[in-house]
Amino acid sequence: MLAQQLVNAISLGGVYALFALGFTLIFGVLNVVNLAHGAIFMLGAYTALQAVVVFKLPLALAMGAAIVVTGAAGWLLDRLIFAPLRARQAPHLAPMIATIGLAISLNSTVQGIFGAENLRLPVHGMAAEGLQFGGAQVTWLEIQIILLALVLMAVLLWWLKHTRMGCALRALAESRKAAALLGIDVEGLFRMTSVIAALLGGVAGVLIALYTNAVYPQMGQPMLHKGIAVVILGGMGDIRGALLGGFFLGCAEVFSVAYIGSTMRDAVAFGLLFAILLIRPQGLFGNAAQRRA
């Protein structure tokens, strides 16, 4: 049972980490708590669903469609909401409240078009078949989710550290004014970050829809709550923190079910989270004095 629970914990952690990556990126660079990330995640899942069901595309192309649509949504999100608010130097909470409105509109629109009921991505094989080792079952999909979370994190970290664009982004996260004075295209970078964060959310939406076997308009909501917890635990805006926070929350949930009781699942997980934040209020990787991307 222990081996299986470990597999369960790591794949659930991968799910949370995957969701949290885009969420933390947008906070790190734009300094916005994007409460529409759950809705964009849902948009990714519905795009893939339409691609598979209506246009009969294979899953890889459906994933591509989800990336394009959510990337475009990210572009629009910055163009129509974040950029005007930036230009007017709106206070901190304004973009956050705006994203709540966007999330509600997106959820309602999707519900209006596709209905409130659960749908599923009719893809076979990958989610069902898998490996067996030491008495534990793991599906290919779970392996893929875990690997993808790790790879995406590594790519993001490498990109931030070793590319000119990454350097610019870090400078931007440090100080917007200084970055602008250095000749960095601040607006362009903001927009690009919004696009990347959104398409990461879209990828997460497709994979998690496959993993949980359910696509519905409100699917981003519970994930958003967990995602916020993960990101706060890891340190707001920190990419390694999103991954570690995800795996931590996954393990905390699974092992509280396994050894304490399923009624205590969230109580134990969030109690632990609270305890950690008491000791390290800045989160696992957060640094109170220094902002990071």
């Binding site: 049972m1 076979h124 069902a128 909501q221 949930e253 092992f255 396994a258």
Partner: protein
């Protein structure tokens, strides 16, 4: 612009008068048409509309046509109360159907009871709803009646000795389903290996299922709605758990074949209605529903359809005077005696007591049909 607006006015006026002349019995419908519970509320509405078009098509009730005033209560308590008040006090309906969820009924039915207006639930199965008062009716068979029958049949056919229990603990419907399962398991003296819970909106059930697998149960008793129940079944099969699932009313929906496609076998459910039931009334209902709505009906549509006929039957016995309070009470007094055979089979009411032991509202008396799933289909167990 003069002429068109005059024309428009005339058209509106015509529409107004024709609706005045045609529809004289106003019945309110408060169901969840948006939100998560819309998956139940929408078929319920379609069930009402089908029965209504048949009844009005045959000339209505004693020459009067029925008009439905449909409101969306969104599956929320607060909204249900608002909508109930609007229908009762503003629209002055004769009676009300709804709301969709037991959770909402608990909050909104007292409004109808207080105003002495019949409230008729077609999908509320939790305990205690009809204890609210003597104007509260329902034709949805309660889980307390169905679950013991389901368990008994499943135990006989599969020879199960001990079971694991899994239920949603933050929803009045799934929690009350669990309470009834627990009672039935105690009566049948079936030991429980482990009891696990989940919450609404959960998507990952593997930790609980891994524990259940290790507990060596012979079957999994599950009180869940399809939204969570179907993923539970898929994840169980992924973990290599081939045990039978014994579910409540929430799992009795053809959606399970879609959401848990190819992993939906060996689910046992009890229901007042089955698409496989070959009774003539049921076949007629299914055919008419498919023709009208171009979709396969479910249990919720069937119960709504029957409910409209139950009310129609009662209305035939009532002489409407046009005085609203008197008419509302007359309908209430006529309802308990109604007996019909509808899509859900032979039906009659049974009065229940409130918490103080005094006679209160009315529950349904119906026989449960136990079914299992095989090859993405329900099979009736005799």
């Amino acid at each position: 612009m003069q002429l068109p607006s005059v024309l428009l006015g005339a058209v509106v006026a015509l529409g107004y008068f024709s609706s005045l002349a045609g529809a004289q019995i106003k019945i309110g419908v408060a169901e969840a048409l948006t939100g998560n519970a819309a998956q139940y509320g929408v078929p319920i509405r379609k069930g009402f509309e089908l029965a209504l078009s048949e009844i009005n098509g045959r000339g209505g009730i004693n020459g009067q046509k029925i008009e439905l005033l449909v409101e969306d209560e969104q599956g929320k308590k607060e909204e249900a109360i608002n909508v109930f008040k609007k229908l009762i006090f503003q629209d002055k309906v004769l009676m009300l159907f709804g709301p969709t969820l037991s959770n909402s009924a608990q909050a909104s039915d007292p409004v109808a009871q207080g105003a002495k207006v019949v409230v008729f639930g077609t999908s509320n199965t939790a305990d205690g709803i009809t204890s609210i008062g003597n104007y509260v009716f329902r034709n949805s068979v309660t889980e307390a009646d169905i679950l013991p029958v389901t368990l008994k049949v499943a135990a006989q056919k599969t020879g199960l000795k001990k079971v694991a229990v899994l239920y949603g603990n933050d929803d009045i419907f799934t929690k009350s389903g669990y309470d009834n399962f627990k009672k039935a398991l105690e009566t049948l003296k079936i030991p429980v290996t482990t009891t696990e819970t989940f919450a609404k909106g959960d998507v990952d059930f593997k930790p609980q299922l891994t524990k259940i697998k290790a507990s060596n149960a012979d079957a999994i008793v599950m009180s869940a709605l399809v939204a969570e129940g179907a993923p539970v079944m898929v994840q169980a099969r992924q973990l290599g758990i081939a045990l039978p699932f014994i579910g409540g009313n929430g799992m009795n929906s053809p959606k399970v074949f879609d959401l848990a496609k190819d992993n939906s076998d060996n689910l046992w459910v009890g229901s007042p209605w089955s698409s496989e039931n070959p009774a003539a009334e049921n076949m007629r209902f299914i055919a008419a529903y498919q023709k009208a709505h171009n979709a396969v009906p479910d249990q919720f549509a069937a119960q709504a359809y029957d409910a409209m006929y139950i009310v129609a039957q009662a209305l035939k016995q009532v002489k409407l005077t046009g005085k609203l309070p008197a008419d509302r009470t007359a309908l209430r007094n006529a309802l308990p005696a109604v007996q019909i055979t509808g899509a859900t089979g032979p039906f009659k009411f049974r009065q229940v007591n409130d918490k103080g032991g005094k006679p209160a509202g009315y529950d349904a008396v119906q026989t449960a049909i136990v079914m299992t799933t095989k090859g993405n289909q329900y099979v009736i167990q005799k």
